[in-house]
Amino acid sequence: MKLNRRNLIFTAALAASVQFGGIGFAFAQDALNNVSYDPTRELYREYSEHFAKVWKEKTGRTVEVSNSHGGSGAQVRSVIEGLPADVVTFPLEGDVLAIEQAGLIEPGWQNEFPAESSPYTSTIVFLVRAGNPKQIKDWDDLIRDDVQVITPNPKTSGGARWNYLAAWAYELERTGGDQEKAKEFVASIYRNVPVLDTGARGSTNTFVQNKVGDVLIAWENEALLSLKEFGTGEYEIVVPSVSILAEVKVAIVDKNVEAKGTREIAQAFLEELYSDESQKIFARNFYRPLYPEKVDSEDLKAFPEVKLIKIGDVFGGWAKAQPEHFGDGGIFDQIYSKD
């Protein structure tokens, strides 16, 4: 029920931001469209307020930032089909690459901002019910017959792709690089999945609200937010021995900013993500900051030490991993084409 209220607040906030965004256009001197993914609603609401202040100090002008959120697959499609995004802030490189392939973003965008255009990162953890009744400690517990696993469909959810790759990376690490074993391992996890929701929030609802499943594979930020909402009495976070470094990516949509003449502000919006104050905003919203030394140590306590695998090291980057694992007829499809 609590989550219901949370969703209601999200929806209301979204409706309000759309409405006030519309009115804001009349008053603000500058406007910027940021197209983002599903769980970043709270993050970019806070960041946009911060950026508006910075922009005012720097140029004396007011700015109205409109943030759009949804499953990243659908968001990418909207941008390609003409949603006038000035900047995109997506959960994985493959999403930005798709827009690059459509000709809207110039190649080389990864080098336009520090750390390959990743101002913050996150990772994948487990959320289990209070007391951890099934004693779930690590990835290999997820293939046990008595464990039901909740994760969204990697075809439609960016977060779900990280879940899948994290499991794969764990088994590779354990077996010393056996790809066949890793495939079998990931397939065994999906055999324990009773429902594949289309997005990360949908899976959170299935686990938290409908009380289905023993473990939710989730974004660290989403798991920490659930804990904050419910207190620690109902759920616990379990950190696996190995997980994946989920590198989010930001980019200017070149074709749109040229047409609208908004390159300067788009550039400023993404550059500001790397400032000390912004890094603190990330940490407060449970995203791992790029520069932890700039953040209050109190806010860093939420992030446990965990061995994080980089997608470039194990999977050869998104340009390779996306078609190989999640494309039509890829490994994820193969998992479900045999019993």
């Binding site: 429902v195 289309t198 409908n210 289905v212």
Partner: protein
């Protein structure tokens, strides 16, 4: 045979042109576009898409569950229509209005509500789980969602016909010596048959295309609880528009054949029992 039978009512040219123009705009052009998009595929790709085990499983599930849901709605819908038309009781109007709720409710809301009722921890789920019945995330759950959204179609199609069917007819049958059972089977049901078929085909067609409510209660597990519209959404997410169009085109064709068959049965029943 002439293009148009003579009529004493003027205005055929104007209204006919408007009909064709409007249908083109709203129905024919989008559907033709869908088929044209499908032709962007190589024949071998098309064949691979529509013969894959996963596609065939989804096809069977979507059409199978829709047929079963529509059949169930025919039985229940006729009974409800009968009660609403033939009896006068307290709060009849209220009950009558409730029938339309599945029309009005956003399908996602219906899906979420049904899911939270039928999960093992939900109100109904708690009662069903000890009996060994799992509804949420199984084909049974899909069927329940489709029953929910299809019910008003049958009730609303049958109701006006029942209202027009005067009680005199039944009384006449009785005075001519027909038993109650014979009256229902030989007098009432034949008169209602065309309306029942209409309600059935509307409920069926709506169920085949339904996405919003089903997606929450279906587990969406490939080859087990994955419906055809979801496969189309996956293809759209992959930006494989031609492949998405191909699945939609096959769906439309199958639906069209089934609906055409129902129409033919209806035409036959009109000839057989007279137009009601």
């Amino acid at each position: 045979m002439r293009f148009r039978q003579p009529s004493i009512i003027p205005g055929f040219g104007l209204t006919f042109s408007f009909t064709i123009f409007y249908l083109s705009l709203i129905v024919i052009i989008p559907i033709v576009g869908l088929f044209i998009k499908t032709f962007e595929l190589e024949w071998s790709d098309f064949k691979r898409i529509v013969t894959g085990a996963r596609f065939l499983a989804a096809l069977k599930l979507s059409f199978g569950a829709s047929l079963l849901a529509a059949l169930f709605n025919v039985v229940v819908g006729v009974v409800i229509a009968w009660v609403l038309v033939r009896y006068r009781f307290f709060a009849r109007r209220l009950l009558d209005a409730i029938i339309d709720l599945p029309f009005a409710l956003p399908t996602a809301v219906a899906g979420i509500a049904l899911t939270s009722l039928y999960v093992p921890e939900g109100w109904f789920g708690k009662l069903l789980t000890p009996l060994g019945v799992t509804v949420a995330y199984t084909p049974l759950g899909i069927w329940i969602a489709l029953v929910f959204i299809g019910l008003p179609f049958v009730v609303r199609a049958v109701q006006p016909v029942l209202e027009d069917l005067s009680v005199d007819v039944e009384e006449a049958a009785a005075t001519l010596g027909a038993s109650r059972r014979t009256t229902i089977a030989r007098v009432v049901l034949p008169a209602m048959l065309p309306a029942i078929l209409t309600g059935f085909s509307m409920a069926f067609a709506r169920a085949v295309g339904e996405y919003g409510s089903v997606i929450f209660i279906a587990g969406n597990i490939p080859r087990k609880t994955e419906i055809l519209p979801l496969l189309i959404v996956f293809r759209l997410e992959e930006r494989e528009y031609a492949a998405a169009a191909a699945i939609a085109a096959v769906m439309l064709t199958v639906s069209f054949v089934i609906l055409l068959a129902i129409n033919l049965i209806q035409a036959w029943s009109n000839r057989r029992f007279g137009n009601v």
